[in-house]
């Protein structure tokens, strides 16, 4: 109560003073009325001012009051120079906002613990080794039988959980005509119990739901999906849906905050691992393995035990390998199991974007430092122009601390206004960046709560920023020597030394940002200009599925039907699209020789696929498949395949075999990327869509892709017609997904596009800020030295020497900063190497571009100050002072 009234009194300080004065006045009047002499009464009362101060200090909080006075004074100071203040606040707001936004992303993706019990004891299992292409690789996929062995081996040290990669799958609550997509994860039944999760509705899965393969068609919905799809209908428990061949029953809804363990993907439906067809295969790696260590267990012994179990499993499995040399098998087995902390979950989004986000974070931190240096220089310049005011304050008895407070309060206003604006920017920018991670059909969904973590970070950042740019000028201002300051100025060089150092630091940071942004842009440019070998425009991809596996003859019928639709130029079938993520590989033997160590990639395609993709043949006597061609039987290979396995001989007519399935090479086509734009072209073989077994019978196919080349520029215009026409051709066929090939190609450079875009944006901001900083600095130094310049001009100094005088020191600093920037850039580039594509950090062009840009910006920034210096009129100047 009392504290509150004292705080309130701070806000109405003027009224308080008036009241105290009035009471004193009434006291004296009363004394006079009692017959005392007015002068005597006044003397007895004492100094009204002292009286007021004493009473005020009792009735309000003195330090708060002085703070209030300083805040008002600081605000007036800022309002006096609206333009510079606004520039300072805007640049800081942008930088603080960008930093907070980056923190939100990093926190949400990499740091924030999952909303489960003891998240800090969660680990993810992966294997480090050398992959078949001879490169070091880490694999986090596991086969279920191996998982079961490992689970039993460490049951006293840890609870092991199998969690499949989240998949967009087709399911329906009604008829097949109403199929919809949901993100499905197969998880160990005991996962919910182990993670301490409680159902919102119904029950969660348990160990008993995960015992026998294909025996437990139960599912749990996530809270998010329940809300989105069912509007929180409590009747949802007990409903059924069909997914694949199975009818699942919904048994419950999970807890609200839990969206699965794959950060960046929100799981809709959880099903038991035993319902996954891979549960019985020892060569399907289809799930991650999470381990929750028991409190008593140590990491390393558990890891060693898991490692031994996994190795024993693979050794057993390798005994069944045929067609692989002993050496290759050994290489394959030489893997180490690693346990990595997974408190924040485990996902591809994390591994793909970890380095990118941290790199972005560093870039925006650099921008923030540049902005801070700018404001610090501004404050220093301002403090020096206020040196007389400060000196006066010291002379009449202001304490040093009080002066520090005076200047710091002004900085605090700048910092907190910027912080608030920056918060708004972060609120908008973080979801914007997540929205850019939107591969076709599967955009990232990342929850970005604005809670105490983000708020605390923003607040700490704002305070840090305030001290960073405010403390030095405040200390400097408070250290003013009244005698020299009032006499007309102290040694200006001391002040400028710090400003020069700040300029050098700004240039160094700016160089780093420009350099990294250049690397990112070059990567994006090279990657997106890399020839694909096919023509992606006007190409539509129809991922199609049949109720059950159907003869390829029926698939051909559907393709034929689609060819008759107006606007369709050509149609072909393929197992999956190029760059779509699918893959099928194996070791190849040439002309009956034993298989070599290089993996080749295969794709089943129909006759006409090569034409539809517009991949040109390279050998004149090569040709497309005939409708009668089958696999095994015939193959079309790409140039890399020909180079790899035929050493420049004509491969046409020769035989390649994949695991005992011989194919005659009928054609060679131009290289096209199979899985990814980043990796070198893989040796690829296209084989006929019609596949036969050993008895010569056609193999039925359940899922395949129609590649449709349209005549319209926008292939999506045909999407709804084609979706309708496929079941019309054969009712058991259904389009599950429509994409364009161009989307898939763009999806390959999503991360690079994001990095290049944000990199260039922040490079622009950094350059602008550094330019403004340089301009301000030069402008200030000309202002400070105008007397000296006036005298020099008066005694005949040429304009050139004046320009040199003004810019010399600063340009030395720019040079020093640029050199430091080069060193910084070279040192930091190895951390982002994985993000780069065919770009070398030492490339002279990569270094020259930022250097020239900074030089140009520096020249531009220096121009106004130089012109001003040269134009100084010595007569007017010397007379004025």
């Amino acid at each position: 109560m009392s504290l509150w009234s004292r705080i309130v009194n701070v806000a109405r300080g003027d009224r308080l003073s008036r009241e105290i004065d009035e009471e004193a006045q009434s006291h004296i009047e009363e004394a006079v009325a009692q017959g005392r002499d007015s002068a005597e009464a006044r003397r007895a009362f004492g100094s009204a001012l002292r009286h007021r101060e004493e009473s005020r200090d009792v009735r309000l909080i003195a330090w708060l009051d002085s703070l209030r006075a300083d805040a008002i004074f600081g605000w007036r100071q800022l309002m006096k120079r609206k333009a510079t203040s606004a520039a300072a606040i805007l640049s800081l707001a942008l930088a603080i906002g960008a930093c907070t936004g980056a923190f939100r992303l990093i926190d949400a993706l990499l740091l924030r613990p999952l909303p489960v019990a003891d998240a800090q004891h969660l680990y993810v299992l992966s294997r480090k080794g050398i992959d078949f292409d001879g490169k070091p690789a880490t694999v986090d996929g596991w086969a279920y039988p191996a998982f079961q062995l490992m689970r039993a081996a460490v049951k006293n040290q840890a609870d092991l959980l199998a969690v499949s990669y989240a998949q967009r799958m087709d399911l329906t609550y009604k008829s097949d005509a109403e199929m919809e997509k949901a993100s499905v994860q197969y998880v160990s039944g005991w996962m919910f119990g182990t993670l301490g999760l409680r159902p919102t509705l119904g029950r969660l899965l348990t160990e008993n739901d995960d015992l026998k393969p294909h025996a437990h068609p139960y599912a749990v919905l996530s809270y998010d999906y329940w809300t989105r799809r069912f509007d929180r209908d409590p009747e949802v428990v007990g409903r059924t849906f069909r997914m694949g061949d199975d009818l699942y029953q919904i048994v419950g809804v999970g807890p609200e905050p839990f969206t699965g363990t794959e950060t960046g993907i929100v799981t809709d439906v959880f099903a038991p691992t035993m319902m996954h067809p891979g549960a019985v295969h020892d060569d399907w790696t289809w799930h991650r393995t999470l381990a929750r260590l028991k409190p008593s267990a140590a990491v390393e012994p558990t890891r060693a035990r898991l490692d031994a179990t996994s190795r024993a499993f693979e050794e057993e499995r390798a005994k069944g390998f045929t067609g692989m040399s002993k050496q290759d098998i050994e290489k394959f087995l030489d893997q180490t199991l690693v346990l990595e902390p997974a408190a924040a979950g485990a996902s591809d989004l994390q591994s793909n974007y970890r380095v990118s986000l941290v790199a972005l974070g560093v870039l925006v931190a650099m921008v923030l430092l540049i902005a801070c240096a700018n404001v610090a220089n501004l404050m220093t310049a301002q403090a020096s122009s206020r040196a007389r005011e400060m000196a006066l304050r010291v002379s009449i008895g202001a304490g040093r601390l009080r002066l520090v407070q005076l200047v710091l309060v002004e900085s605090a206003i700048v910092a907190f206004v910027s912080g608030a604006l920056g918060g708004l920017f972060a609120w908008w920018s973080a979801p914007f960046v997540v929205g850019m991670i939107n591969p076709a059909d599967n955009p990232a969904r990342l929850f970005l709560p604005a809670d105490w973590r983000v708020l605390g970070f923003g607040l700490a950042l704002t305070l840090g920023v305030m001290l960073l740019f405010g403390l030095a000028p405040a200390l400097r201002a408070s250290a003013v020597k009244p005698a020299t300051a009032l006499k007309g100025g102290e040694d200006p060089h001391t002040r400028r030394r710090m400003m020069h150092a700040l300029i050098a630091a700004q240039v160094a940071f700016c160089f780093l940002v420009l350099f990294v942004a250049g690397l990112f842009s070059a990567t994006f440019e090279r990657l997106s200009n890399r020839p694909t070998g096919f023509v992606a425009n006007r190409l539509l991809i129809l991922d199609t599925t049949a109720q059950r596996a159907e003869s390829p003859v029926f698939w051909d019928q559907v393709a034929e039907h689609l060819r008759g639709i107006p606007g369709v130029q050509s149609v072909a079938l393929a197992g999956w699209p190029l760059l779509g993520g699918g893959g099928w590989n194996g070791f190849v033997s040439v002309n009956g020789a034993p298989p070599g160590p290089v993996l080749a990639y295969f794709l089943a395609v129909s006759p006409g696929w090569v034409d539809t993709m517009k991949i040109p043949f390279t050998f004149i006597d090569g040709s497309d498949f005939l409708p009668s061609d089958t696999f095994p039987g015939a193959a079309i290979i790409n140039e890399t395949f020909a180079k790899q396995f035929f050493n420049g001989e004509n491969p046409i007519g020769q035989t390649i075999a994949k695991g005992g399935a011989p194919c005659k090479v009928v054609g060679v086509v131009r290289d096209a990327p199979y899985r990814s734009m980043r990796e070198p072209i893989l040796p690829s073989a296209y084989v006929p869509f019609h596949s036969i077994d050993s008895k010569g019978a056609l193999q039925p196919v359940r899922d395949a892709t129609f590649m449709v080349r349209t005549s319209s520029v926008n292939p999506m215009a045909l999407a709804s017609i084609l979706r309708r026409e496929v079941p019309r051709a054969r009712p058991e066929f259904r389009v599950s997904n429509i994409r364009t090939q161009a989307e898939l190609v763009r999806g390959q450079t999503l991360r690079e596009r994001l990095l290049a875009m944000l990199g260039v944006f922040f490079a622009g901001v950094a350059l602008l800020l550094a330019g403004i900083g340089l301009y301000g600095m030069l402008d200030y130094s000309v202002l400070q030295r105008r007397r000296e310049i006036g005298i020099r001009l008066a005694i005949g100094a040429p304009a050139g020497s004046i320009a040199r005088l003004v810019t010399m020191e600063v340009f030395t600093m720019v040079l020093v900063g640029a050199l430091a920037g080069v060193a910084l850039g070279m040192a930091s580039v190895r951390y982002i190497e994985t993000l780069l594509y065919q770009v070398k950090a030492g490339d002279p062009a990569m270094l020259a571009l930022p250097s020239l840009t900074i030089l140009a910006a520096a020249l531009l920034a220096a121009l106004p100050a130089v012109i001003q210096a040269v134009r100084i009129d010595p007569v007017a100047m010397l007379r004025a002072d």
């Binding site: 009234s5 009241e19 105290i20 009471e23 009434s26 006291h27 009363e30 009692q34 009362f45 009473s55």
Partner: protein, 109 residues
């Protein structure tokens, strides 16, 4: 005995006591009351009386209000709050304890 204004920390006690007997007094009247009721021995200086009044007001022992007197002059008058009554009891018993202790010492020596 010299005329003294060193009230030895008993100013609060005196003000509270005066206000408990005669509520709604202004500062000058309280000052006069201290002087008169102590038989001209004690004096509350303006320099310490007003800060003390304001301090006690902030502490919630007394509350103040502006009134216009018959003469047309405005005055700020004070009266005791319930908390002030309690505080008066505390201060009184403490004063009694101190004076009796001092007396005991004087008697012994």
């Amino acid at each position: 005995m010299p005329k003294t204004d060193s009230l030895q920390g008993s100013l609060d006690l005196l003000v509270l006591k005066i206000l408990s007997r005669r509520p709604r007094l202004h500062g000058y009247a309280i000052m006069t009351a201290v002087k008169d009721w102590s038989g001209d021995v004690l004096r509350a200086e303006e320099g310490s009386l007003y800060p003390a009044l304001h301090r006690m007001e902030e502490a919630g022992w007394i509350r103040a209000e502006w009134i216009t007197k018959d003469t047309g002059r405005r005055a700020r008058i004070y009266e005791l709050t319930p908390a002030g009554k309690k505080q008066l009891d505390v201060e009184e018993s403490r004063w009694q304890a101190v004076t009796s202790a001092v007396n005991r010492v004087l008697r012994t020596v």
